[in-house]
Symmetry: C2
Subunit: 384 residues, 2 copies
């Protein structure tokens, strides 16, 4: 810490660059005088830092014409952050579909592409499908692979810190797969792998139903329900990346699986058969009694699992996502039960991003990583 005040000029340079980048990123363009005022740095320091940033390509001087404000005489030089200096990918690997989102360094989405993939497709085929999706997207938008600064990936299953999928029942050949390492072969930049429900939670907080709350539980409703939690605005992964795996509660005495609960026959549904789920929900809405009963059984289970999560974490907001149709029928039973067992029940709302949530969250994680690199001074600024 002593360095902050004494030695290490390189650290000071890094801090100053970060401060200037922050200032520039918060506005369209700024003069050196404006940057000096906003940052509290000295004029010579600002000039040196901006020069360095222009060299790295992260900042550019605008041609006078561009400059909005004009002064009498010679206009002051204006500089802006070059969001186009690099790009990010957000990827969603699902049971029936893979999706890619491309964005610039401001997180502005430049394009998206999805491809269907067979539910039973082996890991290699699924990964190949993802690669071609990315390649086509890059080509279509006209961004070179070399311009990518970070890639975020949302995947079902329990994902460990190193990007290995510790357990995944949803995708064939996924358990034990080092997804991060496999995808890194296709990219020169860092690849960040995250559980899909966790990614979706991040997305709803970024630009969805949870923008106003830092303490959020996102429930990926479905035949294998999962959940992601934000605590104080930060993702809570758990010690082994398994936080929110509430689905397993039913292993305890409460034997029936969601597939069995939601089935209108004696035979449980196929664990991944979301079409069947949607049909049953539709029938339930049309008043079909067996479908209604199945939906109620299924809802009761989900409600109990979510309640357990809420009692453990005490979030401000619960966001329900997953397959959209019929989901809203679950909100009232959930609110009712939470009102019974919580002193201050959380607000309960539907996902606003729907199917785009996972890829959007993956993109945000990639953006976080790049911002870390560009702007953070690490913990060097803090004492403990």
């Amino acid at each position: 810490m002593g360095q902050l005040t004494g030695g290490d000029p390189s650290l000071l340079r890094r801090i100053n660059s970060a401060v200037v980048l922050h200032a520039l990123r918060a506005t369209e363009h700024a003069t050196l005088t404006e940057i000096t005022r906003v940052t509290g740095l000295s004029r010579p320091t600002v000039e040196g830092v901006v020069e360095g940033l222009v060299e790295t390509g992260l900042v550019v001087e605008q041609a006078a014409e561009e400059g909005a404000a004009r002064r009498q005489g010679r206009p002051a030089r204006r500089f802006r952050f070059r969001a186009e200096a690099g790009h990010l990918l957000g990827l969603d690997i699902g049971a029936h579909r893979v999706t890619a989102l491309l964005a610039d360094l401001d997180g502005r989405v430049l394009g998206t592409m999805s491809k269907d993939v067979a539910e039973k497709a082996p890991a290699d085929e699924r990964l190949e499908r993802l690669r071609t999706t990315v390649a086509e997207l890059l080509r279509r938008v006209g961004v070179s692979r070399g311009s990518l600064r970070a890639v975020g990936v949302g995947s079902p299953g329990i994902v460990e810190a190193d990007g290995t999928v510790r357990l995944c029942t949803a995708l064939p050949g996924w358990t034990g797969l080092n997804l991060g390492e496999r995808l890194s072969r296709s990219f020169k930049c860092p690849v960040l792998v995250e559980n899909d429900a966790n990614a979706a939670a991040v997305a709803e907080h970024w630009k969805g139903a949870a923008v106003d709350s830092d303490d959020v539980v996102f429930v990926l409703a479905g035949l294998s329900p999962g959940a992601g939690s934000l605590i104080g605005g930060r993702l809570h992964r758990g010690y082994g990346g398994a936080a929110g795996e509430i689905g397993a509660l039913h292993l305890m005495g409460r034997g029936a699986t969601p597939e069995a609960l939601l089935s209108t026959t004696d035979k449980p549904l196929h664990p991944l058969d979301e079409k069947a789920v949607v049909e049953i929900l539709a029938h339930a809405r049309e008043g079909d009694e067996r479908a209604r009963a199945a939906f109620d059984r299924f809802t009761e289970r989900l409600v109990h699992d979510v309640a357990a999560l809420v009692l453990a974490l005490d979030p401000e907001l619960v966001v329900i996502g997953g397959w959209a149709p019929g989901l809203d029928d679950m909100l009232d039973p959930l609110r009712h039960e939470l009102a019974r067992c919580c002193l201050r029940p959380p607000r309960v709302t539907l996902s606003r991003l729907g199917e785009a949530a996972v890829a959007t969250g993956a993109l945000r994680l990639a953006l976080d990583h790049v911002e870390e690199e560009l702007f953070a001074v690490g913990s060097t600024g803090a004492l403990r």
Copy 2:
């Protein structure tokens, strides 16, 4: 942030003082030369800062005799942190007992005192009991009230950020009580109120069964089970301070209360009758079948509630505390169930601090507060 590198010398002084205090606190005593080496600060800076700290009374120069190391000729001046410059209290308010712990600025415990209190005692009487306990303890140890820098308090119930007890079924007249404000009348220093299970979790992490883990769930087993969680070494209170109130899960369909489950008659136990609990556990151990059955019912409930907590948070370690005798009989059933429903079950162990956990945790919270004040530079050092 620019200030760090440019203006605001007062911030730099604060950083430097904090750095020097850290260095001195980590050792018995140090010379200016040693401090200069450890902190990376310049010699003149160190001299100025130490002088200032001596004036505040937080640092003192040792008489030459004290100095351990001697050099040829005149010995170098040695300085040490004055842990005795201030004091802290950790208070535990229970249904049957109040306890006070007194410590110095290093958290070294100088004395402790407990007094029984009637389970049905109204709030005023309970608080008065606590005050006399504190007064006697201060007198016995010979510390003046004015020397107190912070007071931590552990209490049953859901405690809000401002120290108000939002809900407490265990203590008469406790719900709605602004405990922080009430106790502040007796102290000039800050009073920090915390849920008892939360405080116990902090204590086990500080000097108990969880010293080696930063991701811990502490379960206060008993007739109204509660839990406290540490995530990344920090207490997780939840948005409304209700995190870990797993007891309420049984409201959902599973009607029977712990008092009913643990009863060996048709009549449920009194919610606070821990003596009866201990007796039943004893009988169960001696092989009494009805007691055994009651214990098993009770354990099954607790195990389910703890499992819900573990699935939500994915901790590294679960610490079971509360009334000691018979608790260890719960560890194996708990381990067994967690192994069934968790991919990587957490370690499960008994509290090491036992009855002292809550007061010890309250003391640690007071110490944290003082260290914040003495050593933290706040977030001024970080960019975001």
